[in-house]
C-alpha cells in the first residue's frame, strides 16, 4: 500500500517532460491516469525515483475526427471515450470496449495513452488498436515518430517505445463495417480471460475484409492476420468461423494463471472469437 519515496514533477509542456527524462534516464517515468503505475508502486513492483505527472501538459486531451482518420490524444480518458457521441458514431467499437475496461472511477482517470503504452497484455486497448490498424505517435529528444500498434508490443511490459520517449497520440484509420469487442472476464474490472476485437466489412453477401485481434492470450496482444484472412471471401458461415478460430488458435500462446489453465483459455478464446465475429458480421 505504501509506495517508496520519489521526486515529483508536473511540467507544463512536453519540452519539460523530455528534459527530465533525459536527465534521469531509466530512473524517470511518466504517469498519466496513474491507475496501473500507482498500484504497481504501492506493491513496490515499480520503482520510480523520478515521477513525471503529465496532467498539465497541454495538447494531449483532444479527440479529432477527420474524414479518414481519428486522432486521440494520449491523455483522453476512458470516460471521455465513452462520453463522446461523435467518436462513438465514427468508431463505435471504442465505446463498446471502453465500457468493458475497469470500473467508473478508474475510467475517469485511466487514459487511452496509458492503456496502450503500459505493455501489460491484460490491457484491452492494445488488441483493439491492433485490430483497427492504429498508429502510436511517440516523441523523444529526436522528435516524433509513428509506430504501428501491430509492431509496438514485443513482450510483457516491453514495447517499441524507448525509455526517453512519450506516447502522445493514437491515430486510427476510420473504421468501416461491423464491429465487436467481446470480453470474457471473471467480474467487473478484471482483465480478460480472453477477449477478441473484430472489425468486418461486407461486400455484397460476402466478407470483403476482416481484422481480428486477441487480448490477454499471449505476453502481448495478438493481431491474427490469418484469422481475418480466413473470413475474406466467405459468407462468414460456420465453416469460415471455424477456420478463423483455428487460425487464431495458431497465433495465441496463453499461460496458466488464476483465470484458468491453457486448454481452458484456448477454449474460451474460440468461444469469444466466434461471438465477436458473429456480432461484427451482424452489424456489417
Amino acid at each position: 500500500m505504501i509506495p517508496a519515496a520519489f521526486e515529483y514533477y508536473r511540467p507544463k509542456d512536453m519540452a519539460g517532460v523530455l528534459s527530465i527524462l533525459e536527465e534521469h534516464g531509466d530512473d524517470a517515468r511518466v504517469m498519466a491516469g496513474g491507475h496501473s503505475l500507482i498500484p504497481m508502486m504501492k506493491l513496490r513492483m515499480a520503482d520510480v525515483p523520478h515521477l513525471i505527472d503529465l496532467q498539465d501538459v497541454g495538447g494531449m486531451s483532444d479527440v479529432s475526427i477527420g474524414s479518414d482518420s481519428i486522432r486521440i490524444g494520449a491523455l483522453v480518458t476512458q470516460h471521455d471515450i465513452i462520453d463522446n457521441d461523435a467518436l462513438a458514431a465514427a468508431a463505435p467499437i471504442l465505446r463498446e470496449a471502453a465500457l468493458q475496461i475497469a470500473d467508473p472511477q478508474v475510467r475517469y482517470m485511466g487514459t487511452v495513452g496509458g492503456n496502450v503504452a503500459n505493455g501489460d497484455p491484460g490491457n484491452d486497448m492494445p488488441g483493439l488498436m491492433q485490430c483497427l490498424g492504429a498508429t502510436f505517435t511517440v516523441v523523444g529528444a529526436d522528435g516524433e515518430r509513428d509506430i504501428p500498434a501491430r509492431d509496438f508490443y514485443e513482450a510483457a511490459y516491453m514495447t517499441a517505445r524507448e525509455d526517453d520517449e512519450v506516447l502522445t497520440a493514437v491515430t486510427i484509420p476510420m473504421p468501416h463495417g461491423g464491429y465487436a469487442y467481446e470480453k470474457q472476464k471473471r467480474k467487473i474490472g478484471d482483465y480478460a480471460t480472453a477477449a477478441a476485437a473484430a472489425q468486418i466489412v461486407k461486400g455484397g453477401t460476402t466478407c470483403a475484409s476482416a481484422s481480428i485481434a486477441m487480448t490477454n492470450l499471449s505476453d502481448t496482444p495478438v493481431f491474427s492476420e490469418a484469422a481475418g484472412a480466413a473470413l475474406v471471401g466467405t459468407s462468414v458461415d460456420d465453416a469460415a468461423i471455424k477456420a478463423a478460430i483455428a487460425a487464431m488458435l495458431g497465433d495465441i500462446d496463453p499461460t496458466e494463471d488464476n483465470r484458468g489453465p491453457v486448454a481452458f483459455k484456448k477454449h474460451v478464446a474460440g468461444v469469444i472469437l466466434r461471438r465477436a465475429i458473429e456480432r461484427a458480421w451482424s452489424r456489417a
Partner: protein, 176 residues
C-alpha cells in the same frame, strides 16, 4: 529521506495547506492529516472504492492518487455531501432503504452515487449496478443499495420538477 513539499487542496469547501511528501496517497492525506475519516481503505489494489471522493467533478479512488497530483484540486467527501441535520437525499435514502449495514463502504458508495445521479438522473437498475461497479460491499448484497439510489433519484427528480414548476409559474407571472 524526506522531500516534503507545500500543497494546497480544497476539501468540502475549505482550503487546506500543509507540507507532505509527494508519495502520500490522497486517502491518507484526508484521513490522517485532515481528520476526514469518512472515506475508508478496503484494499491496496484499487478495486473496492471505499475511498471514493469527488475531485473536480470525477469520482476518484483516493487510494490511487498521490497528494502531489491532487495539489490545487477541489475535493468533496461524504462529509461535504450532507450532515446529520441536513442529509442529502442519497444519505436519507440509504438510511430509509437499509442500503448499509457495517457502513464501511457507505461513504464511497454515496459519494459515487452523487456523481452517477448527476450524470444520469433517471438510471435503470442496470445503469445503477453498472455505474456503481467500482464500489464493493460485503454486507448488503447490493439489492438495497440499488433501491436506495432509485429512491434518491425519484426524490431528487421530484424536487427538481417541482422547483422548475415554481420557476415556470414565476416566469408566467413575470410575463403577465
Amino acid at each position: 529521506m524526506s522531500n516534503k513539499k507545500h500543497y494546497k487542496i480544497t476539501v468540502n469547501g475549505k482550503d487546506e495547506e500543509f507540507l507532505a511528501e509527494p508519495r502520500e496517497l490522497l486517502i491518507y492525506t484526508l484521513r490522517e492529516r485532515l481528520n476526514i475519516t469518512g472515506p475508508h481503505i478496503g484494499c491496496e489494489t484499487s478495486h473496492c472504492g471505499a475511498c471514493t471522493v469527488t475531485i473536480d467533478g470525477k469520482s476518484v479512488k483516493a487510494c490511487t492518487m498521490f497528494v502531489a497530483q491532487a495539489d490545487g484540486k477541489d475535493i468533496t467527501t461524504i462529509e461535504g455531501i450532507g450532515g446529520p441535520d441536513d442529509l442529502h437525499p442519497l444519505q436519507n435514502a440509504f438510511k430509509e432503504h437499509h442500503g448499509l449495514q457495517c457502513g464501511y463502504c457507505t461513504p464511497g458508495m454515496i459519494t459515487r452515487a452523487t456523481k452517477l445521479l448527476e450524470e444520469n438522473p433517471n438510471p435503470t437498475e442496470e445503469d445503477i449496478r453498472f455505474g456503481m461497479a467500482g464500489n464493493i460491499c460485503r454486507c448488503t448484497g447490493y439489492q438495497n443499495i440499488v433501491k436506495s439510489i432509485q429512491a434518491a433519484a425519484a426524490e431528487m427528480n421530484a424536487a427538481q420538477s417541482s422547483s422548475s414548476e415554481v420557476v415556470g409559474h414565476k416566469s408566467v407571472e413575470a410575463a403577465e
